[in-house]
Structure formats: C-alpha cells, structure tokens
C-alpha cells in the first residue's frame, strides 16, 4: 500500500521544524515514530502534502530526573522508557505501561509524544500521564504548558493547534510512600486496551490515602480521570468495600463505545473490574493490605 505523494522534510532543530509547520499550514503533518501516522497514510486515511520528520531532532529525546521532577522529551521512544532504569526507580508506572504497548518493534519506534498527540481513545500513555498529573509542554509561536487534564478533548483530538509541537512531558516524582498500577485488559497480545486503568496513590503517615489519581482509557471518547472514585478513597483508610465503591464510580463515569472488543455494557463492567484490580494492586505496592 502506497501513501499519496508528499514532500519530505527532515529538520535538525526544533525551530526549523516549527518554521516548516507554520509555513506549510494545514497540509503539513509531523512524523514522530510513524507507528500511527504511516499506517494511516498507507490506508489513505491521512494524506498530508508535507511531512515534517522529527527523528533528526536530538533535543527532543531525553529522560531526566531533576530536583524532584521527571522530564521526558516528546520523541522518547516507548522502548526507551520501558528499559530506563531512571524511570523504573522514579515512575515505575511508566515502565509497566510501556511494556504493554503494542510489540517490541512498534515500541522501538513509537514515541510518547506521538501517542499523546495522536490521542487514540484506547491508547495507553494518556491514562498514565493523567494519573501522574503530568504537564505537557508545547511550542508554537509561543511556549505553553497544558495540564494533562485539559489536553485530551475527544477521539483523536487534543488541545494542540496545528502549528504546535509537543516538546516535553513532565511531572512531580511520586513520593516514597506511594503505589501505582497500570492495569490493561487486552483481547490478544499487543492489542489496544479493551480497558486500561492507571492508578497512582500516595499514603499519609496515618494510613489514609492522601492523594489518589485514577485514570481510564478505552472507556469513553477520551481518556479521563475518575474523579468521583478518587474522592471516595482520598482521606480514607482503604477497605475492600471502599475499593469496590470507587470501582463502581469509575464504571459509572465511563462511556465506552461498542466495537469488536465488546458491547458497551460489557466494557462498562470491565471498567469496574479493572479499576478494582488497579486500585488493589496500587495499594499492595504501597504496602497496604485490605
């Protein structure tokens, strides 16, 4: 399958790339890992006249832990995150999620920035950045920071404008007394999620949950934080009943679309089941038994 013809640009710096996309306007597309864009171009679901390849821009690929903040360049590959010892020690939820995305080959090319900007409603990274309360830095004519909570607008739709490039994902490194889980339900190896739940919990000295973030993917038109569920467990000493209630609240907030992976009703129930498992596993990792 051949895409339609296009002109190809491989800028070496971010400023060249920004200039190119602003010059070319609506007909230009950014190429990151290409693992979503190229399949779409081959199927001619996307036919950009200009392709601006970010792969030569070294300044967009890095993993840094600085003064309590974790920073990842948008061109960091899924596989770089999966195999990073820094990420494993500071934000293990990312390693757990990365290793469940697609397969080895796709992870070697696909990037975190590409996944967030593509905004597939079943993608894994969106739920994870929501659970980490990440900030997303974008550059266009100006630089701005978008909270992950405000980034995902709908299926394949984000807060970015056409002339902006996502440059960095950053978040506060979770404290020592915390637990995490990315719990993905997939129908077959390497598939997109039937439902995916990212949970990041912080525990207070008194054994109560001091902060809870629970985010779901493949459970609605866009990934979302289950805020009711978060509220239910925050400030509480976790119990099995409370977790059950929170899982129910997350399921109530979900609005999945029926497809080959199941009916809406089934997926809604799976949202409940996998939220429960995700919270339980996060609690266990925080050293809390219920």
């Amino acid at each position: 399958m051949y895409p339609r013809k296009f002109d190809y640009y491989a800028p070496k710096t971010l400023s060249q790339a920004l200039q190119l996309i602003s010059e070319k306007g609506e007909d230009a597309k950014i190429l990151a890992g290409g693992q979503s864009l190229i399949p779409m171009m081959k199927l001619r679901l996307a036919s950009p006249a200009f392709v601006v390849d970010l792969n030569g821009i070294k300044e967009l690929s890095y993993i840094k832990s600085e003064g309590g903040t974790m920073k990842l360049g948008s061109m960091t590959r899924h596989a770089d995150i999966e195999h990073s010892s820094v990420v494993a020690s500071k934000a293990p939820i990312m390693v757990e999620a990365a290793s469940q995305i697609a397969d080895q080959q796709v992870r070697n090319l696909g990037t975190i920035g590409g996944s967030l900007c593509h905004a597939d409603p079943s993608a894994d990274w969106p739920a994870v950045v929501l659970a980490l309360d990440a900030e997303l830095e974008a550059k266009g004519t100006v630089e701005r920071v978008i909270r992950s909570k405000d980034f995902f607008k709908g299926p394949f739709e984000t807060a970015l404008s056409q002339a902006e490039i996502l440059t960095e994902v950053r978040f506060r490194i979770p404290p020592a007394k915390s637990g995490y889980s990315y719990t993905k339900f997939e129908r077959k190896a390497g598939d997109f999620a039937t439902v995916g739940v990212a949970t990041q919990l912080e525990m207070g000295e008194d054994g109560t949950v001091s902060k809870a973030r629970i985010a779901l993917t493949a459970a609605g038109p866009a990934p979302f934080r289950a805020e009711e569920a978060e509220k239910l467990i925050t400030g509480q000493r976790p119990t099995a009943e409370l977790v059950e209630k929170a899982a129910k609240a997350a399921s109530d907030a979900s609005d999945p679309a029926p497809d080959l992976r199941g009916s809406a009703e089934y997926k809604k129930d799976m949202a409940r089941v996998f939220t429960k498992r995700s919270i339980r596993s996060a609690l266990e990792r925080a050293g809390v038994s219920i």
């Binding site: 296009f6 640009y9 070496k12 171009m41 081959k42 390497g190």
Partner: protein, 175 residues
C-alpha cells in the same frame, strides 16, 4: 538530504549501509523501506505479510545511537533510513555458515512454510539486544509482534532459546 526548509519535491538522495555494503539511491519520499530493500536492492528475504504493522514478516534491524533495534520495515519510509546501518536476513550467514539463530531454527524445526521466518529471526535477535539470555516468557513477549500461521510457535520459542544461548556462548551480539 533535505533538511529544514530545503525543497524536497520529487526524489531524495539517500545513503544507507545494508549488511555492510553502502548503497546510494534517489527515492520517492513515499517509498516504504521494505520496498526499497526488496525492489531497489533486490533483498527479497525481507517479506511483506500484512502490510499493516501487525505480522512482523518485514522485521529488520536498524542501528540507532549505536544500538541495533528491530523495526517493521513496512512502517518506515526509506528516506528515514538515510545515514543509517541496516541488517536484513541476508546479512546473517557468514562464509556459507548459518548464523547461530538461523541454525537453531533449522535444528529445532522452527519453520514450516518459512514465510514468517526471516522476520522471526530478526525479531529474536532484536530481543537479545535488550535481554541476551531471555526466559521463555520473555521470548514469547519478544516475538508477540510476529505472526506464524504454521508452527504453533513452540519450536520457534525453543529455537530462540537455543540460539540465544549459542550467541551468548560465542559472545556474539548481532551478526
């Protein structure tokens, strides 16, 4: 090579090192890497199965920052390989001797029709770049992007376990 701002209409010159030989060609930007390998260079060992990034038959190794990585060559443009080193199934055997991973596939009867085999072998060697001596579970995960419609995978997994041990014993990371 077209850099920022340079007009890129028509064909673009690329220079790649494939299995140790340098190739320079002018290609259309939309030419997929797998078609460049098969049609321009005549290296038909790399197969096209699904053409939709699912089956792994087109898997090759590409060097990035000094590390070899398995990639699906149906999901990259040839222009993106400019300046890079690539390794395909044809580059594995040396002086008429099969590569240890090829040999392990042969000895373990890890192929029937053989259509998936080049991609399986390249994905297996790709996996070893991260885990030189993988467990059976890690092998199964490592080849989850490769489909085989004949063997049922058992012998493929056995072969990769054997091939990885042999490569470790030889202190061999790639070819």
């Amino acid at each position: 090579m077209s850099e920022g701002g340079a007009a890129a209409n028509g064909r673009i010159g690329i220079k790649v090192v494939v299995n140790g030989s340098i190739h320079e060609d002018k290609v259309e930007p939309r030419l997929l890497l797998v078609h460049y390998l098969r049609e321009t260079l005549g290296l038909t060992g790399t197969h096209v199965g699904c053409d939709t990034t699912n089956c792994g038959a087109c898997t090759i190794l590409m060097e990035a920052e000094g590390k070899w990585r398995a990639v699906k060559s149906c999901t990259m443009f040839a222009v993106q390989a400019d300046g890079r080193k690539l390794l395909t199934i044809e580059g594995l055997a040396k002086d008429g001797e099969l590569h240890p991973m090829q040999n392990a596939f042969w000895e373990n009867h890890a192929l029937q029709c053989g259509y998936c085999t080049p991609g399986m072998i390249m994905a297996a060697i790709g996996l070893l770049q991260y885990k030189p001596e993988p467990t059976e579970e890690e092998v199964r995960k490592g080849i989850s992007g490769n489909l085989c419609r004949c063997t049922g995978y058992q012998n493929i997994v056995k072969a990769i376990m054997q091939g990885s041990k042999q490569m470790s014993a030889n202190k061999q990371t790639i070819g």
